[in-house]
C-alpha cells in the first residue's frame, strides 16, 4: 500500500513537467509578437522592448522555459501586464471565493445526487427512476451559463428573492479575515452578514452544482445496481434484515467507492465551470478574473490560473487514487 502510494506519487512528476511545458508554450501560441499584442498597436517601441525583456522573449526558447519553471517553482507566476501586480498573490487572494463556491456546489451535488441515485436504483424502472434518469441526462446536457442566466432571471429579476451578483450586498461593512466570507462571518459571529453571504451563494452554487449532481446521481445509480445484484445482498436479505439496513449498510457503503472517484474527478470540472458561473454572477473568484484577463489580453493571468488549476487537478487525482487503494482492500496493485 505504501509502496503503491509512493510510486503513484512519482508518476505525477513527468505529468507536471509536461503540464508546465504546455502552459509555458501558451505565450508562443499568440500570433505575432506577444508583447505587441498585449500592449496594443499604440505602444511605444521602448515599452514593447521592456515587456519583451521582462517576459524573457529576447532569449533562446529553452532559457525562457528554465526561467519560467524556476520562477513557477518559487511561486512566481509572472506579473499582470495591465495592472503590474504579481499574478500569484492576486491568485491566492481571489482563490478563496472560488473555493467557497465550489465547496457549496459539491455539497449540493452530493446531498442531492447520492439520495437520487440510491432511490433510482432501489425503485428501478419506476416512474421515479425514469424521471431521475431523464433529469440527470438533462443535467449533463445543461450549458451551466444558460442555467445561471435562467436562475438569475427567475429568482433575481422576476421574484426578487435572491441577489444575482457579488458575494455580499453592496455597502456591507465587513472585513473578512481569510476571504472565505461565509467562514469569516461565522467566526466573527456576524449573523446578518452570514445570512447575506449564504443568500448570495445560493444561485451560483446551484448553477455550478448541476453537472456534478447529475454525474453523481448517474454513478450512484449504476454502482448501486451493480452491488444490489451481488450474492451478499441476497444473504443479508435472507438473514431477515430490514430493507433499510440492507440498502444503507450493506449496499450503499460498498457502492460509494466508485462514487468517491467520480467526486474527485469533478474538482477540475468545478474549477473550469467556475469561469462561466462567476462571469454570470460577478463572483470575484479566479473564474471571473480569467474572463476579465481574456478581455484585457492579460495573458500572464490566463497562464498562471491554467497552471494552478492543472496542478490542483493532478493533485486531487493522485489523492483520489491513493485513497481508493487505501479504502478498498480488494484492489491489489502491482
Amino acid at each position: 500500500m505504501r509502496r503503491y502510494a509512493i510510486r503513484r506519487s512519482l508518476t505525477i512528476v513527468p505529468v507536471l513537467l509536461g503540464v508546465s511545458v504546455l502552459v509555458f508554450s501558451f505565450i508562443h501560441l499568440i500570433p505575432g509578437d506577444p508583447a505587441l499584442t498585449m500592449l496594443g498597436e499604440r505602444a511605444t517601441p521602448e515599452k514593447v522592448a521592456e515587456v519583451r525583456a521582462r517576459l524573457g522573449l529576447d532569449r533562446p526558447i529553452w532559457r525562457q522555459y528554465i526561467l519560467y519553471i524556476g520562477n513557477a517553482l518559487r511561486g512566481d507566476l509572472g506579473v499582470s501586464i495591465v495592472r503590474g501586480d504579481p499574478v500569484a498573490s492576486d491568485l491566492l487572494r481571489r482563490f478563496p471565493a472560488t473555493v467557497e463556491l465550489a465547496v457549496a456546489a459539491i455539497v449540493v451535488a452530493i446531498a442531492f445526487g447520492i439520495p437520487i441515485g440510491v432511490a433510482s436504483a432501489v425503485w428501478r424502472n419506476s416512474p421515479l427512476d425514469s424521471l431521475a434518469r431523464l433529469g440527470a441526462l438533462a443535467g449533463v446536457s445543461m450549458p451551466i451559463f444558460w442555467l445561471g442566466l435562467v436562475l438569475a432571471w427567475f429568482f433575481g429579476v422576476q421574484l426578487r428573492l435572491l441577489p444575482t451578483g457579488f458575494r455580499l450586498a453592496s455597502g456591507t461593512a465587513f472585513v473578512p479575515w481569510t476571504n472565505f466570507v461565509v467562514l469569516d462571518a461565522a467566526l466573527q459571529r456576524d449573523w446578518s452578514t452570514l445570512a447575506d453571504a449564504l443568500r448570495h451563494l445560493i444561485l451560483p452554487a446551484l448553477a455550478l452544482a448541476t453537472i456534478p449532481l447529475a454525474v453523481i446521481a448517474r454513478m450512484t445509480r449504476a454502482s448501486m445496481l451493480e452491488v444490489l445484484s451481488r450474492e451478499y445482498i441476497r444473504t443479508a436479505e435472507a438473514k431477515g434484515l430490514s430493507r433499510r439496513a440492507v440498502i444503507l449498510r450493506h449496499a450503499l457503503r460498498n457502492a460509494l467507492l466508485p462514487v468517491l472517484t467520480v467526486i474527485g474527478l469533478q474538482v477540475g470540472r468545478l474549477l473550469a465551470g467556475a469561469i462561466l458561473t462567476e462571469t454570470i454572477f460577478s463572483w470575484p473568484g479566479i473564474g471571473l478574473w480569467v474572463y476579465e484577463s481574456i478581455e484585457s489580453r492579460d495573458y500572464a493571468i490566463v497562464q498562471g490560473v491554467s497552471l494552478f488549476i492543472a496542478v490542483i487537478v493532478v493533485g486531487v487525482n493522485l489523492v483520489t487514487d491513493v485513497l481508493y487503494a487505501a479504502v478498498d482492500p480488494r484492489i491489489k496493485y502491482e
Binding site: 501560441l29 499568440i30 446536457s141 444558460w146 490566463v302
Partner: protein, 301 residues
C-alpha cells in the same frame, strides 16, 4: 464476403440467434428504446434544420438589424421576439444551428480521426510510440477540458477556426484511450491471431481486422463527443472567443442577452439556450442508446 464479414456475422448470429447483419440488429435494438428514439429524432431535427435552412432562407447577419423594434417580446411576426438590435431571434437561432452544429461536428470529426489513429498506432506498435502518445494524452487530460479550450483560444485569438482547433484538441485523448484499449483487447483475440496465421501483414491486420471491430465504442464516443463539443463551442461563444458578431451562434447570442436579462427580456436568452440544451440532450440520448444497442453483451440495462 471477406473473412472479416464472416467473423463478425458469426458473432452476431451467435448473439442474436438470427441471421441478421450486426448493423441491422443494432438498429433494431436502438429504435426499440424510447429514449434512443427520442434522441434520434432530436438529432435528426437539428441536423435537418442545419442542412435545409440556407436553402429555404437567405440570411445576411450584417444587414439584419432593425433598431425601431429592439427587444420586442414574442409576437406572431417574431415568434421568438427580437434582440437588442431588433433582429428576429427565431431566424438567428435557426441559422446559428448551422454554425454551432457545424463547429461541433467538424471539431469532433478531426478529433476522431487524429485521436483514434494515435490510439491504434500506440496500441498496435506498443513500446516507445505508446509511451510518448499516452504521455501527451495524460498531459492534455491534466487540464479540465473547458479550461484548456478557453486558454488556447484566448492565446491564439478568438474565432470559429481557432475554436475548432481547441475543441478538437481537448477531445482527442478520449479517442486515443478508447482505440488503444480496443487494440490491446482485440490483438489477442482468436480471429486476429487467425488472420495473422494466414499470413496477413501487420497493417492489414490492423486496418482490416482490428479497426473495424473496434468501431462500436468509437461510434458511441463520437455521439457523446458531439454533445460535449456543442457545449464547449457555446461556452467559447459566450466568453466572446468563438463566433464573432454579427455571426449568429448560440453561445454568442447568450453573451449578448446577458446584458439585458435584468430588464426582464427573457426571450433573448431563453431560446438560444434551449437550442443548446435540446441539441446536447439529443446527442446524449442517442449516445446512451447506441451504447446499449451496439454492445449486446450488456444485456437489458
Amino acid at each position: 464476403m471477406t473473412t472479416l464479414d464472416v467473423a463478425v456475422d458469426r458473432r452476431a448470429v451467435a448473439m442474436t440467434g438470427r441471421g441478421r447483419s450486426p448493423a441491422s440488429a443494432a438498429w433494431r435494438r436502438l429504435v426499440a428504446s424510447p429514449a434512443a428514439r427520442a434522441g434520434l429524432i432530436m438529432v435528426a431535427a437539428f441536423v435537418l434544420v442545419a442542412l435545409v435552412t440556407p436553402v429555404v432562407h437567405l440570411y445576411d447577419a450584417r444587414t439584419d438589424a432593425n433598431l425601431t423594434s429592439r427587444l420586442r417580446p414574442p409576437t406572431a411576426a417574431h415568434p421568438f421576439g427580437t434582440d437588442s438590435l431588433g433582429r428576429d431571434i427565431l431566424v438567428r437561432v435557426v441559422h446559428a444551428t448551422r454554425v454551432s452544429l457545424g463547429l461541433a461536428i467538424s471539431a469532433v470529426a478531426v478529433a476522431t480521426v487524429i485521436g483514434s489513429a494515435l490510439g491504434f498506432l500506440a496500441g498496435y506498435l506498443r513500446g516507445r510510440v505508446d509511451l510518448v502518445v499516452m504521455f501527451c494524452m495524460d498531459i492534455v487530460l491534466a487540464f479540465p477540458a473547458t479550461l484548456l479550450a478557453i486558454a488556447i483560444v484566448a492565446m491564439i485569438g478568438p474565432g470559429l477556426r481557432n475554436s475548432l482547433f481547441a475543441i478538437s484538441l481537448v477531445s482527442i485523448p478520449a479517442y486515443a484511450r478508447l482505440s488503444r484499449s480496443s487494440v490491446l483487447e482485440l490483438r489477442e483475440q482468436e480471429f486476429v491471431l487467425a488472420a495473422r496465421g494466414l499470413g496477413c501483414s501487420g497493417w492489414r491486420v490492423l486496418a482490416g481486422h482490428i479497426v473495424p471491430n473496434s468501431l462500436p465504442p468509437l461510434i458511441v464516443q463520437t455521439t457523446l463527443s458531439i454533445a460535449f463539443a456543442i457545449l464547449e463551442a457555446a461556452a467559447l461563444g459566450f466568453l466572446g472567443l468563438g463566433a464573432q458578431p454579427p455571426t449568429p451562434e448560440w453561445g454568442a447570442m447568450l453573451a449578448d442577452s446577458y446584458k439585458y436579462f435584468t430588464s426582464g427580456a427573457w426571450w433573448v436568452f431563453c431560446f438560444p439556450g434551449a437550442a443548446i440544451m435540446l441539441s446536447v440532450l439529443g446527442f446524449n440520448l442517442l449516445g446512451d442508446g447506441l451504447r446499449d444497442a451496439l454492445d449486446p453483451r450488456l444485456g437489458q440495462g
